[in-house]
């Protein structure tokens, strides 16, 4: 047995029910008693050998047949030792209550709210246990439970809550929002000395920013409590773009889920595809031909450049520098054209396949990429010239929204947000995949954890990405672009149209899907925003029993309040920009 598991079992002989190494990759799993979760969590975080300082995600699975129906799974990551652990606790159906781990990992706040929202598991001691993705007044149950009705509700026109065209408009009342509705967005009032009941100061202003606001990057709503222009409390309100991808995917075969992942972080579809197919391949123990690995890495880095260009443009536009936006879109266009050549789509791409990729690079495309790489550094210098040497830009980004390294880890921040705070954690380096361990590149790390450092990190990452692409193109080996696994990979399209055998083969794979071994797997990849993880629970069928997406933007929004307090309204848009949030990913 793994030493960590042995140590854990020794330390908590009663509370830890079972420890095991699961699956082909020997994932560490500990089954614990629900009431003991906070104690074990604290030990796991603080013990020198364990130091699971980051809570990647909290997942919940529903097993209606089992005696203890619900399972809560904590996905832990240790940055100093670079190992992962899954801590599981079972809960009975009649009392789905578990103590919160918010005091241990502050990032758990949003994650626990999501579990509550989706599965109806209550977290005892949670500071603000409200629904997060579903509407606040949603009364139809908890969507990810297996007994939640998945049928439609009839015709859209008959929905009672949609206004009819011939109905008179509801007269808006000029009255204030009731105090009860305002309460979640206000900071806990301090008890003043002249009385024992809490008194609120009256100077604060509650400002509703979004979901329709030019700078909130989609349908994000933030309720700001202001004192003058200074932010006292900022509460993100999510879920306006919730489409239930996790629930949907329970009814889809693995290939059918790939296009749904495009719609998560729609700015960087390729990276989502990549993260998902990698998770499925990990489940299947499938090895990928080297050429496919190189192509995947190349395309992923192209997509990362696109994502960062998009971020740079919008961040600059939010702060008011409009020219950078158009310049970055000029380069983005070139890359999108290449994607169009490669797979026929520009934004919501569906290029990765389980086992490889869809189509091969053409010499023309390689040449175009090389031409792009030759001009790209000059373009980066161009953006830099407008921003890095600009005193206004510096004063708007330096020392704004400072996030210290311990806080960033504790909140579960990943990607450029974490690296801007000076933590050199990059999934591509820590758990190499694709061709990342075969090429030379560096992880840029910031110093102060302010917006400028995150800007700098992303700018450097673009340079590193182009470095990776250049090396990948040089090393690109010959060979097949998709694995030779007839159970999983459909035959080439040309054969399908010619011989009956392939035709039937193709038909079977696309109608029945492919079976995966029973088990669970968590697979993290480095998205443009941070660690993008897919946790798949398979019951041995062709469809995932449960799929949980660890969306980095969602976790980052959990840090929002911490980072925004004390800054001005003008900085709010800077902070939105600095996370690079994409609401498709947050709301899923």
């Amino acid at each position: 047995m793994h030493t960590l598991l042995a140590k854990l079992k020794d330390r908590f002989p009663d509370a830890v029910l079972a420890v095991r190494e699961e699956g082909p990759y020997k994932d560490l799993v500990a089954q614990v008693k629900a009431p003991a979760v906070p104690d074990i969590a604290r030990f796991l975080r603080d013990d020198g050998e364990m130091s699971f300082d980051m809570l990647s995600d909290i997942c919940s699975v529903d097993y209606p047949e089992d005696e203890d129906r619900f399972e809560v799974i904590y996905l832990l990551k240790s940055l100093p030792h670079n190992h992962r652990l899954r801590m599981k606790a079972r809960l009975p159906e009649d009392a789905p209550v578990i103590p919160t781990v918010t005091p241990i990992w502050r990032g758990a706040n949003f994650l626990e709210r999501e579990v509550y929202d989706m599965m109806g598991i209550r977290f005892e001691g949670h500071p603000d246990l409200r629904r997060i993705l579903m509407p606040e007044d949603y009364e139809e149950g908890f969507p990810l439970r297996k007994d939640f009705p998945v049928e439609g509700k009839g015709w859209r026109t008959t929905f009672p809550f949609l206004p009819k065209l011939d109905e008179p408009a509801v007269a808006s009342s000029a009255e204030e929002v009731p105090a009860e509705q305002q309460r979640p967005f206000l900071i806990e009032s301090e008890t003043e000395s002249n009385g024992d009941k809490p008194v609120r100061r009256q100077e604060e202003l509650l400002l509703n920013m979004g979901p329709q606001h030019p700078a909130t990057h989609g349908v994000l709503r933030v309720v700001l409590e202001l004192e003058g222009e200074r932010i006292v409390k900022a509460t993100p309100d999510l879920g306006y773009l919730h489409r239930g991808v996790e629930k949907l995917s329970e009814a889809l075969t693995y290939q059918q889920i790939i296009p749904h992942t495009d719609r998560l972080d729609y700015v960087c579809s390729m990276l989502n595809n990549y993260a998902f197919v990698r998770a499925v391949e990990k489940l299947l123990e499938l090895t990928i031909p080297p050429r496919a690995e190189y192509i995947r890495t190349t395309v992923a880095e192209m997509q990362r450049i696109i994502g960062h260009l998009f971020w740079l443009g919008t961040q600059a536009l939010d702060i008011g520098a409009m020219t950078v936006f158009f310049w970055t879109f000029r380069e983005r266009e070139v890359l999108l054209d290449m994607f169009e050549k490669l797979c026929g789509a520009r934004l919501t791409l569906n290029y990765y396949r389980v086992g490889g990729v869809d189509s091969d690079f053409t010499p023309d495309l390689v040449q175009k990429m090389q031409a792009f790489l030759d001009t790209f550094p000059a373009h980066i210098a161009e953006y830099d010239e407008l921003l890095r040497t600009n005193r206004i830009w510096l004063s708007r980004t330096k020392n704004v929204a400072v996030l210290s390294a311990p806080d960033a880890i504790n909140f579960g921040a990943t990607g450029p947000v974490l690296r801007g705070s000076g933590v050199a954690y990059d999934v591509r380096k820590a758990e190499p995949y694709g061709a990342y361990d075969k090429v030379e590149w560096e992880v840029p790390v910031g110093k102060n954890g302010d917006t400028y450092d995150r800007y700098w990190v992303r700018m450097e990452e673009m340079k590193q990405s182009s470095r990776i692409i250049r090396q990948c193109l040089q090393q690109l080996p010959e060979g097949p672009i998709i694995a030779d696994a007839p159970q999983i990979v459909p035959p080439p399209k040309a054969n399908v149209m010619r011989d009956m055998q392939s035709h039937i083969h193709h038909f079977i794979i696309f109608t029945l899907g492919f079976k995966t071994p029973k088990g669970e797997t968590y697979c993290a990849s480095e998205g443009a925003k941070g660690e993008l993880g897919f946790f798949i629970v398979s019951d041995g069928g062709a469809r995932p029993y449960r799929m949980k997406i660890r969306a980095p933007s969602f976790v980052h929004l959990g840090v929002f309040d911490h980072m925004a307090r004390g800054y001005l309204i003008a900085d709010v848009v800077t902070i939105f920009g600095t996370y690079d949030v994409v609401m498709g990913e947050v709301d899923r």
Partner: protein, 354 residues
Amino acid sequence: MELMIFAGAALVKIAMVMIVVLLTVAFLTLAERKVLSWMQDRMGPMEVGPYGILQPIADGLKLFFKEDIIPSGANWLLFSLAPILSVVPALIGFAVIPYGPNQEMEIFGVTIKPFVITDINIGILYILAFASIGAYGIILGGWASNNKYSLLGGLRAAAQVISYELNIGLAIIGVIILSGSLSMVKIAEGQAGGFWHWYLFGGLQIVGFVVYVISAVAETNRLPFDLAEAESELVAGWMTEYSGMRFAFFFMAEYANMILVSCIAAVLFLGGYQSPFPHYIIEYLGFPGMKWVEAVVWFTVKVYFFLFLFFWIRATLPRLRYDQLMRFGWKVLLPLALANVLITSIVVYFVRQP
């Protein structure tokens, strides 16, 4: 009779100036979009007319036919008054700007000055006084909209306009000391004889000029000082709730203000209509009677230089933050302007010792 001719001539001048200013406003919107798109590697408006030159007309028509919405809970009187309060001071300032040489013309025995609507002896003071009223339009518009974003925009505008108006006032005192007059006509006249006689170079008002230009950008609420509008923070600031023609009035006021401050900068620092050479080129060519044409052209060129500068700044700089703006205004520009006043007056005192 004499009065009627005088009034008639004044009306004609006013009509001419208004037509020119409003047309410039209209095409300035197009010019801005074209200049920006040129700097940003794109085409700009191309659909309406060849190269999009009819775009302002289409925009104007669209705004004219848009539904006029007064939000519920708004104070309709102030809400309607605010656009007017914005646009009138912006247009009224053009009354004292000299567009051409200080010539006199005699029509039916009445002497009039064709290139300035009225040459009052406190011209610059009059402009400053009216410019301050423009701020009321923004503040009232923001307050009357019954919208939190508008209110914040209005408050920001109030603080900004007050602090930067002070700097404008101090920055031009140097010029007033040099010219010894508050009349715009006299100030322009005093800079004749080549660009080394302009107050910018000859009067060494470089600091004053820089302070004035920066403050003028802030005064017109343009990037990087468009905090009151700040579309990425406050949606559209004090204009959030405005639509249709009321919005168009604010828009016109902004562009008219841009032209006005450019005109003032041209007159105060760059000699107004004066040629940068000792004599007008057209005089060398042998048409001394036509030198007013060239004078008007020089004036236009100078004004458009400033307008281009506005666009250029907008394309380059990000927006300042509220506290940074105030700090910059009070801690950097104000001491600079004061020092400029002090040094100019001392130098002028010693140089002009009889």
